[in-house]
C-alpha cells in the first residue's frame, strides 16, 4: 500500500507498477514476489484493459487505463474511460516481464486505440480526452506497435517528419518543433526510430553532431540540457541513447556511477533526482537502469530501445507468434 502522498499519482498506477516490476527484473529479483503475487499483478493489469463494444467509435478508446479511478458501469460515462498511451505501453511491457504471453490482449483494439491518438503533425496525444502531444508519446506508440508487431498503429512517414522537424539547432531533439533540445525527448525519438528501423532519416553528420551533444551532457552524472544540474534519470535517457548510437563507451563510468550512488537513500534504498533529495519510483528505476548500462554486477543487461531487460526482450520475441 502506498502512502496518501502518492495520491497525485492516482491515474498512473500502472506506470508505478512498471517501475517496480521492471526494476525487480533488472535486479534479478522478480522471484522475490511469489507466483501467486505475480499472477495477481497480471490479473490487475488486465482488469485495466478497455475492450470495444458494439459501437464502432469505442475502438478508438481501447488500450489500458492507468488505474480504475473512473472504471464505471454506466454507458454515459464511457467517454471518460479511454486508454492512456503511456499506460498501454507500460501495461504491455509489464505483462511481458511478468511472463504473460499477451494472449488476453485485444491486439487489433489496442492498435486502433493508438492510431486514434496520432495528430496531423505526426505526434501523438496521450488519450482522447484532450492532452498535450509530444515526443514521449511517439516513443510509447513505437513500443506498442513493435511489441504487437503491427505498425498500422501509426503513420510512419508522418512520425518521421515530426521527429526531423524537432531536431534543434543544438543537434539534439526537442519535445516538438522549435522547442529546446532535451535528453528525455532525444531518447524517445532515437529509441522510437530504432524500433521503427528508421534511424537512417538522419545523416551521418547529424548523428555525429547528436552523439557529440549527448556526450557533452556528462557532468559527473548526466544532465538533460546544457547548464542544468546532473540528475539520476539522465544516466539512463542520455546513456541509453548513446548506447543505441554506439558511443556509450566514451563516457566516464566511474564518475557516473559515483553520482548515481550518491543519490541513493540509506533508509529506503531508493534513488532520487539529486543527492540528499527524496527518492521516488521513477528515479529509483532509472538509477538502476543507469547502473545496468555500465555493467554493474548483479544487474541484468537492458535492451535500450525497449527499456526492459534483454531477458524480457527475448521472451517477447518468443511470444510474438501471431501474424502481423
Amino acid at each position: 500500500m502506498m502512502p496518501p502522498q502518492t495520491q497525485k499519482g492516482d491515474t498512473q498506477r500502472l506506470m508505478f507498477a512498471f517501475f517496480a516490476i521492471s526494476g525487480l527484473d533488472i535486479l534479478n529479483a522478480l522471484e522475490s514476489c511469489n507466483a501467486q503475487h505475480r499472477q495477481d499483478m497480471i490479473e490487475w493489469i488486465y482488469s485495466l484493459q478497455i475492450q470495444p463494444d458494439d459501437d464502432e467509435e469505442s475502438w478508438s478508446r481501447c488500450g489500458f487505463m492507468g488505474s480504475c479511478t473512473f472504471k464505471l458501469q454506466s454507458k454515459e460515462s464511457r467517454e471518460y474511460q479511454h486508454s492512456h498511451i503511456a499506460m498501454t505501453y507500460t501495461a504491455l511491457s509489464s505483462l511481458i516481464i511478468l511472463g504473460d504471453d499477451l494472449s488476453r490482449v485485444n491486439r487489433p483494439a489496442v492498435i486502433r486505440g493508438v492510431r486514434a491518438l496520432q495528430q496531423p503533425d505526426g505526434s501523438f496525444c496521450a488519450h482522447l480526452g484532450g492532452s498535450e502531444n509530444d515526443m514521449r508519446f511517439i516513443f510509447c506508440a513505437a513500443v506498442i506497435c513493435y511489441t504487437l508487431k503491427d505498425w498500422s498503429g501509426m503513420d510512419m512517414p508522418l512520425v518521421e517528419d515530426f521527429i526531423k522537424s524537432s531536431l534543434s539547432y543544438e543537434g539534439a531533439i526537442a519535445q516538438g518543433p522549435g522547442l529546446e533540445a532535451h535528453g528525455g525527448s532525444t531518447y524517445c525519438a532515437i529509441a522510437a526510430l530504432v524500433l521503427m528501423g528508421r534511424l537512417s532519416i538522419f545523416s551521418d553528420e547529424q548523428l555525429d553532431r547528436l552523439r557529440n551533444w549527448l556526450l557533452m551532457r556528462q557532468v559527473a552524472g548526466f544532465q538533460g540540457r546544457p547548464n542544468k544540474p546532473d540528475d539520476t534519470c539522465y544516466s539512463f535517457w542520455v546513456g541509453a541513447t548513446l548506447k543505441l548510437l554506439d558511443r556509450y563507451q566514451f563516457t566516464d563510468k566511474k564518475k557516473n556511477r559515483e553520482f548515481i550512488l550518491s543519490t541513493q537513500q540509506n533508509l529506503t534504498g531508493g534513488f532520487s533526482k539529486w543527492p540528499d533529495n527524496t527518492s521516488d519510483p521513477l528515479h529509483t528505476y532509472f538509477g538502476l537502469c543507469g547502473l545496468s548500462l555500465m555493467g554493474e554486477p548483479g544487474l541484468k543487461e537492458i535492451d535500450c530501445a525497449l527499456n526492459m531487460s534483454v531477458d524480457a526482450a527475448k521472451r517477447l520475441e518468443q511470444i510474438q507468434t501471431w501474424d502481423s
Binding site: W44, T69, F70, Q218, P226
Partner: protein, 318 residues
C-alpha cells in the same frame, strides 16, 4: 508528491479558510449516492487514500456516471483537481461542464493561473490552459502568465512551450527578442532563453547575412563574459550553420577564437568549437586534420578529461 495535506484544523489556523466538510456530510449532496472505487481483489500499487480523497472521488464517480453537469459539480472538480491535478479525466469533465453551462471562461483563466502557480511542472494544468485559451480565442493574458512563471523558474520547459505556442499561434513575436535579451542578461547560462532566441529568429527575421552578422556580434560579446558557457557556443554554431559558409567560414568568429587561444583564455567549449571548425575543413585540408588531432589531444589530456576517451577516438578517426 511531496506535498502533504494539512488537516482541517491546521487549515483554519494557517489560511483562515473554513474547514473542509466531507461531501457525505453535506446537506446539498444528500441526493447523490457515492460510488466507491472498483479495484480488483489483490490489486497492486494500491494507494492508501486519505478520507478526503476517497470522499471527493466517490462523489465525483457518482456524478460522472450520470453525467451531471452543474455548478456544484464544477466546484467538486476543483476539489478533485486540488487533490490530484494530474487526473486528466477530471480536467476533461471540467471542460465539458464549462462548455455546457457556458461559464465565463475568463473566470476559468483565474482558476487555471492559480493551478499553474501551484503546480508549474504538471502537464495537465498547462494543457488545460491551452485548451481554454483556444476556446476563448484570446491570448492576451498569456505573455504575462508565462513571464511570471519564468521569473520563478527560468528554465521551466512547460512555460516556454506554452509561450512558444502562444506567440506562434497568435503572431505575437513583437516583444520576444527583448525578453530573450533580458533573460540572457539575467542568466547568461539559461539555455532555454538561448533556444527561444533561435526560435524567434526562425519565425521572424530569418537568417539573412545582416541578421546573422548582428547575432554573431551579440553572441561573441556574451561568450567573452563566460567562455565556458555551452549555451552561447551552441547558439553560435546553430546560426553559423544557417549560413552558406557554415561553421568554418566566418572570419570574425575565427579571429575571435584565435584571440582567445592567444591570450590563453581556454575552455572545453572553445576547443570543441575549434574541433568542429577544423572538422568541416578536414576533408580537403591536411593542416586542418592535424589541427583536429592537436585540439583533441589537448582536450583529452588537459581541458576536458572527463571525455578523454571520446577525444582520443576523434583524434584517431579524423
Amino acid at each position: 508528491m511531496s506535498e502533504t495535506e494539512s488537516s482541517g484544523d491546521e487549515c483554519v489556523l494557517k489560511c483562515k479558510k473554513p474547514a473542509f466538510v466531507l461531501y457525505r456530510n453535506r446537506e446539498e449532496w444528500k441526493d447523490v449516492v457515492p460510488i466507491p472505487q472498483a479495484d480488483v481483489h489483490n490489486a497492486v500499487v494500491a494507494i492508501n487514500y486519505s478520507e478526503k480523497f476517497k470522499d471527493v472521488y466517490d462523489y465525483l464517480r457518482a456524478v460522472l456516471a450520470k453525467q451531471e453537469k452543474s455548478e456544484r459539480v464544477l466546484k467538486l472538480t476543483e476539489d478533485a483537481l486540488n487533490l490530484n491535478p494530474a487526473n486528466y479525466s477530471v480536467w476533461q469533465y471540467r471542460r465539458e461542464i464549462l462548455r455546457c453551462l457556458k461559464i465565463d471562461l475568463r473566470r476559468e483563466l483565474v482558476f487555471s493561473a492559480k493551478m499553474i502557480h501551484q503546480h508549474p511542472k504538471n502537464y495537465q494544468v498547462w494543457y488545460h490552459r491551452k485548451a481554454i485559451v483556444e476556446m476563448l480565442g484570446d491570448p492576451s493574458a498569456e505573455l504575462e502568465l508565462t513571464k511570471n512563471d519564468l521569473e520563478y523558474d527560468s528554465k521551466n520547459y512547460h512555460a516556454w512551450q506554452h509561450r512558444q505556442w502562444v506567440v506562434q499561434t497568435f503572431g505575437m513575436f513583437d516583444g520576444e527578442m527583448v525578453l530573450c535579451d533580458t533573460m540572457i542578461e539575467a542568466d547568461i547560462r539559461n539555455n532555454s532563453a538561448w533556444n527561444h532566441r533561435f526560435f524567434v529568429m526562425s519565425n521572424t527575421t530569418g537568417f539573412t547575412p545582416q541578421v546573422v552578422a548582428a547575432q554573431v556580434d551579440y553572441t561573441l560579446q556574451q561568450i567573452s563574459k563566460a567562455i565556458h558557457n555551452e549555451s552561447a557556443w551552441n547558439f553560435l554554431r546553430g546560426i553559423l550553420c544557417q549560413t552558406k559558409d557554415g561553421i568554418s567560414g566566418n572570419i570574425k568568429v575565427n579571429t575571435f577564437c584565435e584571440n582567445l587561444i592567444a591570450s590563453n583564455n581556454i575552455s572545453p567549449q572553445l576547443l570543441a568549437f575549434l574541433v568542429d571548425i577544423n572538422m568541416a575543413l578536414a576533408k580537403e585540408d591536411q593542416q586542418a586534420r592535424e589541427k583536429v588531432k592537436e585540439l583533441c589531444m589537448q582536450l583529452a589530456t588537459d581541458v576536458d578529461t572527463i571525455r578523454h576517451n571520446y577525444w582520443n577516438y576523434l583524434a584517431q578517426t579524423v
